[in-house]
């Protein structure tokens, strides 16, 4: 039994390495900037969703306000860069730390809330953040911040001529988020989180400090999402509150995990790989002409998958596997 388990863990790692290597080679074949753009976004949302999944999937605390941490990552990086000349790399880390601290600070009152009260509180706090940034003159208010062009360099993490560096960074971020999940899944934290999700009272009786578990999950999750936000800001070279902190980000972080399989290792990646290209393609091919057809397709898919496969697309794989395994 133990051997099976270790073998499965190793297999996951090998699959991930192969996929990452294949993805790294993709730019050799994909020269089209539009397609590269989609790949970058796919990788970014995979990373974000993977991070969201830690708090909401594994630990079961459904957040629809993660846009807050995304925006904090973006704003910390750009405010430090434009106002104080701090390199984006430090801003990125700083944003991650600030987001994690805020997540824990909010955790104190929030984690007492149950069910819908919690979900709504997360939406509300992200809305408050959005409104505050929209009215914060020093941070550019609703006009936002344009990131000054300083020439292409890794030091300044800024590239105008080619999108490939962003692609590779997004790939690394995606791998990082996946690896962190993989690593935590078979750790004390991973078990605690799943126990808290399934039954907090029973978890408490087995020595799990429920509150600390949630705090840990919130911190890791917010940190990684903020890194994503910092990346996105550099990638866009322009930020404003709506375009880095809008509700749609909270949604776009949650959906890949939900569609792929919430609380699973592969769910977010699988979900993002299907959802993001589909979103982008429907938006550009039918979205422009058909007025809302993209939303119709997209929404229908969400309804159907959540009804037909409550455990996400990954359950298709495990179902096939368990069928093969029955004697």
């Amino acid at each position: 039994m133990d051997k099976n388990f270790a073998a499965r863990r190793r297999r996951d790692l090998v699959i991930a390495a192969v996929l990452a290597a294949l993805a790294a080679l993709a730019p050799l074949f994909v020269k089209d900037v539009y397609v590269q753009n989609i790949l970058i976004l796919t990788l970014m949302y995979a990373a974000l969703s993977q991070s969201w999944n830690i708090l909401s999937g594994y630990c079961g605390q459904i957040s629809l306000g993660h846009a807050l941490y995304f925006g904090i990552g973006a704003y910390t990086t750009e405010l430090l860069f434009t106002k104080f000349g701090v390199l984006p790399w430090f801003g990125m880390l700083g944003g991650g730390v600030i987001a994690a601290l805020i997540a824990m600070g909010l955790g104190y009152p929030f984690f007492r809330l149950r069910g819908h009260y919690f979900v709504i509180a997360t939406i509300v706090i992200a809305e408050i953040g959005l409104l505050l940034f929209q009215n914060w003159e020093w941070a550019g208010a609703a006009m936002g911040i344009t990131i000054p062009v300083r020439g292409d360099s890794w030091l300044k993490f800024q590239f105008m001529r080619s999108k490939l560096p962003y692609f590779y960074f997004a790939l690394v971020l995606c791998c990082l988020a996946w690896f962190v999940t993989w690593w935590l899944e078979d750790s004390k934290w991973g078990f605690w989180w799943r126990a808290v999700k399934d039954n907090p009272e029973a978890a408490e009786s087995l020595g799990v400090v429920v509150f600390n578990s949630k705090m840990g999950a919130a911190a890791v999750s917010a940190f990684l999402v903020a890194i994503g936000g910092a990346f996105y800001a550099q990638f866009l070279a322009y930020i404003d509150p709506e375009s880095v902190m809008g509700f749609q980000f909270s949604l776009l972080m949650a959906l890949p995990a939900v569609l792929g399989g919430i609380g699973t290792l592969w769910g977010p990646v699988l979900g993002a790989a299907i959802l993001i290209p589909m979103t982008e393609l429907t938006r550009s091919y039918i979205g422009g002409s058909g007025r809302g057809v993209d939303l119709i397709v997209y929404g229908t898919l969400i309804v159907l998958i959540s009804l037909a496969l409550p455990q996400g697309l990954v359950s298709l794989f495990s179902r096939a596997k368990s069928k093969g395994a029955t004697r």
């Binding site: 459904i62 009152p109 007492r112 809330l113 149950r114 069910g115 819908h116 009260y117 979900v119 709504i120 509180a121 939406i123 509300v124 706090i125 809305e127 408050i128 409104l131 505050l132 929209q134 009215n135 509700f247 949604l251 959906l255 939900v258 919430i262 609380g263 058909g290 007025r291 809302g292 057809v293 993209d294 939303l295 119709i296 397709v297 997209y298 929404g299 229908t300 898919l301 969400i302 309804v303 159907l304 959540s306 009804l307 409550p310 455990q311």
Partner: protein
């Protein structure tokens, strides 16, 4: 700031609050009945506003008159949504909460898409409704007529709902089902039928609100989003599932919004509502009137 101004804004806050209550009560009803939050509630409102708009545009029926028609249309719509989607969402064995959230959320997105497709993203309004733009002056306080009528309709609707729940057979079945869904099956009440009717009723109430709103608010595919969050806050403030709580929650939200607008720039007026929500649930994690 004069006393006049304060009274003025509290009065309009109160009127708006009564309307918020009416928008939210359907959500509370459905939640109380079956523990499901309809994340497409805002889109129900949006559809109601469009129905009202087209009844006006094609048949020149004033929103005030068409309100019962809109409510009836929404009743059917709500019941159909239950039968086609929610019924199946409730059967989910794994990730039940998630399935409920995202199946109704997906529906919201579809509805927005459909509205964009059929009605275009343009902003529309009903220009010459009976009430639109008129105000009544009362001791120096100006009250817009549509909101005033809206508030009256809301109070009547709540009174009717109270009567309905406590005095009719269906109302009693509704109460019984929410108290003990298992037991009602034993006495021969078809749970699915009660749920479908509950969804119909919830949607009809938001339909009523939508018809009123149509006479003084812009109508566009995303209009629901801005009211949905307020509706969730209203319902949560009142304590999920409590019909009376939605009424009180709506008034509180309206007053808080008006008060915030007095002290903060208008663009921040929602912050007050959100802050009050957080404050209330931190002190009472189950809302003001929710059972602890």
């Amino acid at each position: 700031m004069t006393a006049q101004a304060i009274i003025q804004s509290l009065a309009s806050g109160l009127l708006m609050g009564l309307l918020y209550g009416l928008i939210a009560v359907g959500l509370a009803l459905i939640f109380g009945l079956m523990d499901v939050v309809n994340f497409a509630h805002g889109e129900f409102l949006m559809i109601a506003m469009y129905v009202s708009f087209f009844l006006f545009a094609f048949f020149a029926i004033d929103p005030l008159l068409s309100a019962p028609l809109v409510a009836a249309a929404l009743f059917v719509f709500g019941a159909v949504v239950y039968l086609l989607i929610v019924r199946f969402a409730m059967r989910a064995k794994a990730n039940a909460g998630m399935v409920q959230i995202f199946s109704t959320f997906g529906l919201a997105i579809v509805m927005r898409g459909l509205a964009q497709f059929f009605f275009t993203p343009d902003y529309r309004s009903i220009p010459q409704s009976w009430l639109g733009g008129k105000t009544i002056s009362f001791a120096g306080v100006f009250l817009p007529e549509p909101q005033l009528i809206g508030a009256l309709v809301s109070i009547l609707a709540f009174a009717g709902l109270y009567f309905f729940i406590h005095r009719t057979d269906f109302g009693r079945a509704l109460e019984a089902t929410r108290e003990d869904p298992g037991a009602v099956a034993l006495v021969g009440i078809d749970k699915n039928r009660v749920f479908a009717l509950g969804w119909g009723l919830g949607a009809a109430l938001v339909g009523l609100a939508g018809a009123i709103m149509a006479s003084f608010f812009y109508i566009y595919p995303d209009v629901g989003a801005s009211f949905a969050l307020i509706a969730y806050v209203t319902v949560a403030l009142g304590g999920f599932g409590s019909v009376f709580g939605a009424f009180a929650g709506g008034i509180i939200v309206g007053l808080v919004e008006a008060t915030t607008a007095l002290v903060l720039p208008p663009s921040l007026k929602s912050v007050g509502i959100y802050a009050v929500y957080l404050l209330v649930v931190f002190i009472r994690p189950r809302g003001l009137f929710g059972q602890m």
